[in-house]
């Protein structure tokens, strides 16, 4: 995301009231485009969308990102009280009411009602203005009239009543069974209950409420486990993810019509269906209906990489906020990972890691914990395409070799074959492979940076703090402030993800016995730094370091004079190794270096 320079947003000194008003307007703008975005996404599956529709979505998303950035800058200029007041305006309707009361004279603003605001037109405006200007649309290509539906929590009593009436009319004219009426009547009851609770802020939850909530929680967890069971075995997606340290339970759509769905099909259902059965209806359906497919299938297939990016982002944000730890030598850690993953030499991996770090810097993406991000998301960033492109490269090299021979034959006849000696052939292949790899590595870098941008944009900690969790005093109630909120077990995620990278079955690293690393100072010091700067971020004990160092020395046929009494025949002294000497670290030791728990 292009960060908006703060300087450009600062205008002349403004009064507290003006700043407050500006922030309210910014919140109105961001919420209207947020609603528009959700609307464009609802019930859609990306691979089935046309290019134009995807471009429309991207255009609205870009506008939304811009507005969100403006809002976050604006709210950060407010004092704590005003900021909290705005955080508590959790819906577009509430923001509109607050704005009207500030913009209109007192006598006019009195008696303003939620239903006086036309959210739909605000949201439609966003969609039409942006999509209408989308250059990817052909001239004359029609833009579908957006069917705007705000989140149900933001609907007014009148809007809900409208839905009830419409559903009743449908029942009469179309002979529908009226589930929609029941759903909207339940929504009306919920809204009335909310109004009553807001009017009586001390009103406690009724007797039996917690038990019911707990039952629903347990059922939800159970459904998630069932939904994620991998076909044909007892393994679950979350057990796979757990190996990678990601989630203890995987996500499934909240839509009540999709309890316990299967992961086998990819068909997407609307996230918020028009008709949502009540809990009683749901539980009956859970028992009778076959499992339905999920739009989250892709996530389950990959099983890693997504959720823990969020964890890393929050994790990193907290680390930087508290300044208790610095991410040092991130580039080195990344080089180690790249070396393992792509089977490159140390020098090539270091050069690649440096290029990536530079690209991130250029895009204001420093501080994401590059190595951690890379390893946590390697399936999306590189694994996914690595195999395919490696095969392409081999094919291109082979067919180019044939071309070369044919062309030489054109000039030299049969002698062409003689010119293409084994030495020339190998040199040609090496030259070509180098060029092809350059293009592949450039594409990897581009993917990495684009993915980092996407995740940074989507998991903006400020947005979660200001918008998602901003008004939840319930958390303060249980003694959890934003700063102490954690998302899954971050440390555990680091450890196990590191383990997966170091010892992941089937990966390139698994086929190799050693990880190469240039020596810094001596073996002891190099291994210590690797542990401190690696995903586990820990200082190993002297005992561990001795054991690891000995294993490394064994692998490179060296010995440490201080640990033996006599010169060891056939081995060289570790003191003879120059700075940068290539150490071979056994994979087993590498796992321990990255994981203090092993």
């Amino acid at each position: 995301m292009e960060r908006i320079p703060v300087e450009s947003l600062k205008t002349q000194e403004k009064s507290r009231e003006e700043l407050y008003l500006d922030t309210l307007k910014a919140k109105r703008d961001v919420l209207s485009s947020h609603y528009a975005l959700n609307q464009l996404r609802r019930g859609k599956k990306v691979e089935e969308m046309s290019d134009s529709d995807v471009e429309d979505y991207k255009a609205v998303k870009k506008e939304y990102d811009k507005r969100r950035e403006l809002f976050l800058v604006s709210i950060s200029s407010l004092n704590e009280d005003d900021s909290q007041k705005i955080s508590e305006l959790t819906s577009l309707t509430k923001v509109e009411i607050a704005l009207s009361s500030l913009e209109k004279p007192a006598e006019v603003s009195e008696g303003i009602r939620p239903e006086d605001f036309d959210k739909d037109s605000l949201v439609k405006q966003v969609v039409e203005n942006i999509i209408g200007q989308n250059p990817s649309r052909q001239a004359g290509e029609s833009v579908a009239e957006p069917q705007i539906e705000p989140p149900h929590r933001d609907m007014t009593l009148e809007e809900i009543q409208g839905r009830i009436d419409a559903e009743k009319a449908n029942r009469q004219t179309l002979g529908l069974n009226g589930e929609g009426v029941e759903y909207w009547e339940a929504q009306r009851a919920l809204l009335l209950e909310r109004h009553e609770a807001e009017a009586n802020p001390d009103k406690p939850a009724p007797k039996g409420f917690v038990k019911r909530l707990r039952d629903s929680y347990d059922k939800g967890k159970e459904a998630i486990m069932g939904a994620n069971r991998i076909s044909g075995g007892s393994e679950t997606v979350e057990s796979r993810m757990s190996l990678l340290g990601l989630r203890k339970e995987a996500i499934k759509p909240v839509s009540p019509e999709e309890p316990g769905e299967s992961i086998q099909s990819e068909e997407v259902h609307p996230i918020q269906p028009e008709v949502q059965p009540q809990p009683e209806v749901m539980s009956q359906q859970m028992e009778k209906e076959p499992k339905k497919p999920s739009g989250w299938g892709w996530l389950k297939e990959r099983g890693k990489g997504i959720w823990n990016f969020g964890i890393w982002e929050f994790h990193q944000a907290e680390r930087f906020r508290s300044k208790t730890k610095e991410v040092a030598n991130d580039t080195d850690a990344l080089a180690t990972l790249i070396q393992q993953e792509r089977n490159l030499s140390l020098e090539e991996a270091q050069a690649e890691a440096q290029e990536i770090t530079n690209e991130l810097k250029k895009n204001n993406l420093e501080g994401i914990g590059t190595a951690e991000f890379y390893q946590a998301n390697s399936d999306i960033i590189s694994d996914r395409k690595k195999k395919e492109n490696d095969e392409e490269i081999e094919y291109i090299i082979k067919s180019s070799g044939n071309d070369l021979l044919d062309k030489l034959a054109e000039y030299r006849g049969e002698a062409g074959q003689d010119v293409l000696t084994q030495e020339n052939k190998l040199a040609f292949q090496a030259d070509l492979r180098g060029e092809l790899n350059k293009l592949r590595d450039g594409a990897f870098r581009k993917d990495f940076v684009n993915f980092a941008k996407l995740m940074r944009r989507n998991l903006d900690e400020n947005w979660y703090r200001r918008y998602v969790w901003g008004s939840v005093e319930a958390l303060a109630w249980i003694g959890v402030g934003w700063a102490s909120m954690t998302f899954l077990a971050t440390k555990e995620a680091a450890i196990v993800a590191a383990k997966a990278v170091a010892g992941g079955a089937g990966g390139a690293e698994a086929a190799r016995e050693f990880v190469e690393k240039g020596m810094h100072g001596n073996v002891w010091n190099t291994l210590k730094e690797m542990a401190q700067n690696g995903p586990g971020h820990f200082t190993p004990t002297g005992e561990q370091l001795k054991e690891w160092s000995q294993a490394v020395l064994d692998s490179i046929k060296h010995y440490e004079p201080e640990w033996v009494n006599n010169v060891v025949e056939g081995l060289k002294s570790s003191r003879t190794m120059p700075e940068g000497f290539t150490l071979k670290i056994p994979v087993e030791i590498m796992k321990q270096i990255q994981n203090p728990g092993l």
Binding site: E47, P201, K385, L404, D431, A443, L488
Partner: protein, 96 residues
């Protein structure tokens, strides 16, 4: 407990089960739920819903990323083929 309150309890329970919040926080919430006033429970539900919407957005955007990635890599292969022709010609010149 009326029907609306039952609905509220069901929604919070289900959303909380799906939330990426740490289990420790979920457990603390569950333990203290009884003490939280009803109006704040509505806000908790709102926040959990918003969290879910945000995460669905992430999923959607990653799908778009993957679609774009496929397209981009097709372009990479085309570029590689072009470079291969150039390198081959260079070697023909060198060896002919």
């Amino acid at each position: 407990m009326n029907e609306a309150q039952q609905q509220l309890a069901d929604s919070i329970g289900e959303l909380l089960a799906q939330s990426p919040l740490d289990d420790e926080i979920k457990n603390r919430l569950l333990e203290k739920m009884e003490e939280i006033p009803e109006n704040l429970l509505f806000r908790l539900k709102d926040a959990l819903e918003k969290e879910k919407e945000e995460l669905e957005g992430v999923v959607f955007d990653i799908d778009i990323f993957l679609k774009d990635q496929d397209k981009d890599w097709q372009g990479v292969v085309e570029d590689q083929k072009k470079v291969a022709r150039e390198v081959t010609d260079k070697w023909v010149e060198k060896l002919k």
